[in-house]
């Protein structure tokens, strides 16, 4: 979840009320956010990623004003037509752009800091690290010309990247600036890169960096905002979001920029500030929430959450979703808004009496039986990770293929274990100082590939490590375990790569092979650095539980 830092005084000014920290904390809680006061002047807020409008004080203030009933219902943006226009050419790698202008902004040091933070959080979340959406903010008064162009440019063209004093070739900007190295690969295509040009100057190189010439300062009062990306809807919605929220400044006005698409000459005005309507059945709200919330409360809480109501009937209403609420996709989202405004801890807690009978999975049941028996045989239960290191290779048998993790956190966790025996031996490596004999077991999941298929199983494995070992010392407890489960066991000589030839057997019940038993091959032991002989047995729990289920149903 994104963490943002807000200046409390600035937030209070925007809200128009001096909030105590406690009150603020409570209100933020209802907005899915958690807060922490830092140094008396700043507050740290953890915001949910589906509410980008809360990434900045302006949006936070708008939501708080609703909850505090200072200002309810839909926010009405103030707009007019701008003198600025942008021609959009074909930019294959990053086809969409939206441009808007804001005037009458008051940032100051703190406001500018928050605006940059807002931009960065949007980049990470809705922007998918600038791939899907990237934002450029410029001081409007420094834009060389009122006519802008969005087009692909050669990497040999020059610009002054933000933070630099001199002109650089685009290819050097991509290579030598920090932003170039981080984001330079996203939109470069066939030796060309998207750029926004004004008066012959490159003012932005989306999604990498802006130009130094349009740098925003704390006293910048007029802004030009560009949003570019690969998803048309997200690009336009993001511009709507930013413009709408900054319009929270008292004397601000949004100016709609004329966008002319090339070569079609199709014209539109940005930001569109498009609102949608969602029809909501009142009974649906009551049914999902599970208590009889009053109709007027439904309406009131929607207004407190800054939605508009365009039409209300006895059983339904049409809610207007403001342009900055990108998270509302379905009437159900409004139900949650009502619940949040109502207060989660005020919602009655209902115990439904449903006629269902509980039961455990058959694998849980057989695991319990086996656990009980192995504990009786003095085996200690252990718990290992499903992911394991290169030792997994020692336990691969026949035409099995290990499942490799493409992005492991460490080499020790690079593979999915191909059996439980591998985990027991890994455990034994660490316990050679313990008193011997050491008897352990584990019940767990493993998987491997065979041919084109993945086999996934649960098994139980038991091991004994001691100074001097005979085959019977592992065979006997296994035999005892299976006999106690009421099964007749046969052992058939077998070859298993990680077990000693002539000391390895298949375990057979009702003519079905259910597992293996044997002495671990000295090669495996020495490869793993184990200094004592180890006997091991492993049983397939799915097969075992099927056999037992059949046995129980027949008796």
């Amino acid at each position: 979840m994104p963490v943002i830092y807000l200046n409390i005084e600035r937030l209070n000014n925007l809200v128009g009320e001096k909030l105590t920290y406690e009150k603020l904390d409570n209100l933020l809680f209802s907005l899915k956010s958690e807060s922490k006061v830092l140094d008396g002047s700043r507050v740290e807020v953890e915001v949910n990623s589906d509410r980008p409008d809360l990434f900045v004080s302006e949006g936070m203030a708008r939501a708080l004003k609703g909850l505090l009933e200072i200002e309810e219902g839909l926010f009405q943006p103030k707009t007019k037509e701008s003198e600025y226009s942008a021609r959009i050419f074909e930019v294959l790698s990053r086809p969409y752009i939206a441009v808007g202008v804001l005037k009458g902004i008051e940032l100051g040091e703190e406001g500018l800091k928050e605006l940059i933070q807002f931009q960065e959080k949007l980049h990470i979340t809705v922007g998918r690290k600038r791939k899907k959406v990237a934002i450029g903010i410029h001081d409007l008064r420094k834009i060389p010309d009122k006519k802008l162009e969005y087009t692909m440019i050669s990497l040999d063209m020059e610009m002054i990247p933000l933070g630099s004093k001199t002109k650089m070739k685009i290819k050097d900007v991509l290579k030598e600036t920090e932003q170039g190295r981080s984001y330079g690969e996203i939109s470069v295509l066939g030796g060309a890169h998207p750029a926004i040009i004004s008066g012959g100057e490159i003012i932005s190189l989306p999604p990498v960096i802006n130009s130094e010439i349009t740098r925003v300062e704390p006293d910048s009062r007029e802004l030009l905002i560009d949003v570019t990306g690969t998803d048309r809807d997200s690009v336009i919605k993001t511009l709507d979001l930013i413009c709408s929220l900054l319009n929270e400044h008292k004397n601000s006005i949004i100016e709609k920029v004329k966008i002319i698409e090339q070569p079609t000459e199709v014209i539109r005005q940005d930001p569109p500030l498009a609102r949608s309507e969602v029809s909501l059945q009142k009974n649906y709200v009551k049914k999902i929430l599970g208590f009889d919330i009053r109709n007027e409360d439904i309406v009131h809480h929607l207004l407190r959450m800054r939605f508009g109501i365009s039409k209300e009937k006895d059983d339904s209403l049409d809610a207007i979703i403001p342009e900055y609420r990108v998270d509302i996709m379905h009437p159900i989202d409004l139900v949650e808004e009502i619940a949040m405004a109502y207060g989660y801890n005020r919602i009655p807690v209902k115990i439904l009496s449903l006629k269902t009978e509980g039961s455990l999975d058959h694998l849980s049941t057989i695991s319990r039986a086996i656990r009980l028996l192995l504990i009786g045989l003095a085996f200690q239960e252990i718990q290992s990770f499903v992911m394991m290191g290169t030792h997994a290779e020692l336990f691969r048998t026949g035409n099995q293929k290990l499942l490799k993790i493409k992005n492991p956190v460490s080499e020790e966790m690079g593979w999915v274990r191909p059996n439980l025996a591998s985990s027991l031996l890994t455990f034994l490596i660490e316990n050679q100082h313990a008193e011997l004999p050491l008897k352990i077991f584990e019940i767990g999941d493993y998987a491997y590939q065979i041919g084109e298929k993945i086999t996934q199983k649960k098994s139980v494995a038991l091991a004994i490590m001691k100074d001097e070992l005979s085959f019977e010392e592992i065979q006997a407890p296994l035999y005892s375990l299976l006999s106690s489960l009421g099964l007749e066991v046969k052992f058939r000589r077998d070859s298993i790569s990680y077990l000693l030839e002539g000391r390895a057997a298949k375990v057979i019940v009702n003519d079905i092979p259910i597992g293996i038993v044997g002495e671990v091959h000295p090669y495996v032991l020495t490869s793993m650095g184990i200094k004592y002989p180890v006997g091991i047995a492993e049983l397939d729990l799915d097969t075992l539980s099927n056999i037992i289920a059949r046995k129980q149903s027949s008796s």
Partner: protein, 498 residues
């Protein structure tokens, strides 16, 4: 100490001592029993302390040969050399013999021989007295006997005195330990000790022999050797208890695969294909490509439509194009909700309650609070009358059974539930601990899986809950590779576990 309690070695030695009439030396005992003299000495001390044997010190005259004596025995006595010359050559002049034997030896030989009358000197000539030759043989015999340690008769002693004076024999006094049994006590002890028992046996019990035996006493205050019990894993016991609680609340346990497709893990749950949690930092990808999805055509098509346009869900969907190939990527499941999704897709008849507990995987770096794999619970409830308030009730009921009476709810965001809630429970001494996420499945999810009743769901990581409730400070300890720690922590937490 009971004098009739004899060890095996004590018995063995005592029986040898008794078998010898009179006393016996240590060397002899060593030879017969095969025990080293040092062991014999130690056992004798024990027997003496029990009053079963007596030790006597005796002094004995011992004759040994001097170096001269040994030489005389091997090379012959000086007088023998003289007599041998006379026997071969007849009477010889002094000077002739001196030439053969040397002056010194001639004097010794002549002295010894003349004393016994074996030779005479007539003028300048030495004459042999053949009748007396036997005297030499008897001296030789005595040297031989001394050398071989034979017994010395009184008759010999006078002759030995001569040999001593001649420097051929040495006379010494030697101290000797002699052991003698204390009869009849020793015999009694020997008899009785064969009836002292170290271990009771079935034979002794059933024959009634135990009545006539003495049962050896142990030092019962000494500590025994250590043995280790077979123990369940403490964390597994905790998980099993949760399963029992859920079962008692009417939930049916279900399970699913750990190696999963993105389809069941994300797409069915209406997680957008470009959702951040589907990226490299939040999901483990397996190097394997599915050939086909284990899902029906219908559900795949519904997934596509709902993602792209909302379909019949009543929502607008994510827009864009939904890609089947992305859904077919193989991952390690990141949430147990994947099992719930599979369960719902199997069309269970409402009302239903299901739960699944298993490992989930996320690429977190390992520290005291994070592991890349951990246990998670997911529980779902479906019914015509299921509601958010009913879900909060079910969760409250569950925690009450866990002994946690105080639960707090907070609005939250999950891609597949709406309304969503995060919950805290009060666990002393930690205070409010965030433990679960829950919500009503989104209509989009229900449309995809084909469920037509509201379904509430809650999920929680069990590792942190176990840590909070059991008082474990490091998540890695739940998967400890130290068998002694597992035993110790089980003992420490025993009464919290059962």
């Amino acid at each position: 100490m009971d004098k009739f309690q004899l060890s095996d070695n004590e018995k063995k030695l005592l029986s040898v001592i008794i078998s010898v009439p009179g006393d016996v030396g240590i060397d002899y005992l060593s030879k017969i029993t095969g025990l080293p003299e040092s062991t014999i000495n130690a056992i004798i001390e024990l027997l003496k302390s029990k009053g079963l044997v007596r030790e006597e010190i005796s002094y004995k005259i011992v004759y040994t040969l001097t170096e001269e004596g040994k030489k005389a025995l091997s090379e012959g006595l000086p007088e023998e050399k003289l007599t041998s010359l006379l026997l071969v050559h007849g009477p010889l002049s002094l000077s002739a013999v001196e030439a053969k034997l040397g002056k010194k030896e001639l004097q010794i030989a002549l002295g010894a021989a003349r004393k016994r009358g074996i030779v005479e000197i007539k003028g300048d000539t030495i004459v042999l007295n053949k009748e007396k030759l036997e005297e030499i043989s008897s001296d030789r015999e005595i040297l031989k006997i001394i050398n071989e340690g034979g017994s010395i008769t009184l008759d010999m002693e006078k002759k030995i005195e001569v040999l001593i004076r001649r420097g051929l024999v040495k006379k010494e006094l030697k101290k000797e330990r002699r052991i003698r049994a204390e009869l009849p006590l020793a015999k009694l002890a020997l008899e009785r000790s064969s009836e002292v028992l170290v271990k009771l046996t079935s034979y002794i019990l059933t024959t009634g022999n135990w009545r006539n035996t003495i049962i050896k006493e142990y030092n019962v205050e000494a500590l025994p050797p250590k043995i280790n019990p077979g123990l369940p894993h403490f964390y597994i016991l905790f998980i099993e208890r949760i399963k029992d609680i859920l079962k008692s609340l009417g939930f049916t346990e279900v399970s699913g695969p750990i190696v999963e497709s993105e389809f069941w893990n994300f797409d069915v749950l209406f997680q957008a294909q470009d959702h951040p949690s589907r990226e490299i930092h939040d999901t483990f990808w397996v190097d394997y490509y599915l050939k086909s999805l284990d899902a029906s055509e219908e559900i795949i098509e519904r997934t596509r439509t709902v993602h792209e346009t909302g379909g019949k869900s009543g929502g607008r969907g994510w827009g864009g194009f939904w890609k089947l190939e992305n859904a077919m990527r193989t991952i390690l499941r990141t949430q147990m909700t994947s099992v719930s999704a599979r369960t719902l897709a199997s069309n269970p008849k409402p009302p239903f309650k299901f739960f699944a507990i298993g490992k989930v995987f996320r690429p977190d770096l390992i520290d005291s609070r994070h592991l890349p794999e951990f246990y998670q619970l997911d529980a779902i409830i479906g019914d015509e009358n299921m509601s958010f308030s009913g879900l909060l009730g079910a969760i409250t009921e569950f925690f009450e059974k866990m002994g946690l009476k105080e639960v707090r709810f907070k609005p939250a965001y999950f891609p597949f539930t709406e309304p969503s809630v995060e919950g805290y429970v009060k666990i002393e001494p930690l205070g409010w601990v965030e433990v679960f996420g829950a919500g009503m499945f989104r209509p989009e999810v229900l449309e995809i899986v084909g469920t037509n009743v509201p379904v509430g769901a809650w999920g929680m990581g069990l590792d942190r809950l176990a840590m909070a409730l059991l008082g474990i400070d490091d998540i890695r300890k739940l998967y400890s590779k130290d068998v002694n720690y597992l035993r110790r922590v089980f003992s420490e937490k025993l009464f919290k576990l059962i």
